[in-house]
């Protein structure tokens, strides 16, 4: 099925276990990702998985500066972003969103890039506050990187100094809208 000289089913039954596993992997890979079966499954489940993804966005518990206090307050009873499914998580391996909420100094830049690389796909980056967008009031400092999009691709920019908690929640809702519009199937990626 995968090629002209790939083994047939009868020959595969005679394989040793390691080769058999490799063969069955290749079959499933083709079935799910390249054949019409995979595309059909995607068509049926795409909306559901997209709904689940955008309503349970977990961001990294990472506070840099003043906007971090507004990020904490957004989880507080008055503004309550948890009703949208947005919860902070401690480990970068468990997160969807990297929320950068302060100026990035040159000492922090490699650490932040490492955190971004550790996050699994699909991931988004939200730049909160003026310092993350362009350096903010410290744009001409010798030790601040003017904007986090110099080394990390950013999806949503939230202006403000500091950005109000309502602005942060609005930014998350815009991100949810963006995810809804770019629906991609999980299997085929289209």
């Amino acid at each position: 099925m995968t090629g002209k000289d790939s083994p047939t089913f009868g020959q595969a039954m005679m394989f040793r276990s390691k080769d058999f596993l490799k063969w069955s992997d290749e079959q499933m890979e083709y079935l799910l990702r390249k054949s019409p079966v995979g595309a059909g499954l995607d068509l049926v489940t795409k909306d559901f998985f997209n709904w689940a993804t955008r309503n349970s966005l977990y961001f990294l518990h990472f506070g840099i500066m003043c906007c971090a206090l507004e990020m904490a307050v957004a989880s507080a009873p008055r503004f309550d972003q948890q009703r949208f499914g947005i919860i902070p998580r401690s480990s970068p391996r468990q997160c969807d969103i990297l929320l950068v909420n302060g100026p990035v100094s040159k000492k922090l830049k490699p650490a932040l890039r490492r955190l971004y690389d550790q996050m699994p796909e699909p991931k988004w980056v939200v730049a909160m506050g003026e310092c993350a967008i362009s350096g903010g009031p410290f744009y001409n400092s010798y030790s601040v990187v003017p904007g986090v999009d110099q080394f990390i691709p950013v999806d949503v920019y939230i202006p403000g100094c500091p950005a109000r908690p309502e602005a942060l929640i609005d930014g998350f809702l815009k991100l949810q809208q963006m995810i809804k519009e770019n629906k991609k199937g999980l299997l085929t990626g289209r």
Binding site: K106, K107, N140, S141, Y142, S143
Partner: protein, 169 residues
Amino acid sequence: MSEGGKASSAGARDIESAPSRIDANPEDRVLRALAESFPKSVSDGEKVRPGLVRAHIDRSDLYPACRMLRDSLGFEHISMISAVEYDNRFEVVYHITSYSTRLVLELIVPTPKDDPTVDSVSAIWGGANWQEREAYDLMGIVFRNHPKLERILLPKDVLYHPLRKDFRG
């Protein structure tokens, strides 16, 4: 501080020429003790306002003077160590507080421009440790006998001292 905050000539007294008498207030006592123990190094002692006295001292006598301040004059707390760069010198400014008399002593130590080195006082006050490291990191003042004189705020491999006037960031 807004209580009489004028550093004016009305409050400044040259303590070396005052007649000797029992000192009524702690500011005079401190200036007198400094001037008597280190007559060659201490100069320009003045009482800026109630609660703040200022003196200049030579860098060679800084360590013994600080030891005397802590042990016999009751200055237990080092508030701030600043470094300022002027055209022809550096100045390291120590603000030392006494909890018992609530007095602040501003001790100014000038150093030449090409050799900004002073003795470290972190053996006397542990609170001076990180403040001296910061002065070294940002201004380049070298503190002799400091237990660990390394950069603290900037990355360790940086070569410049950003607060110097010839640094354009």
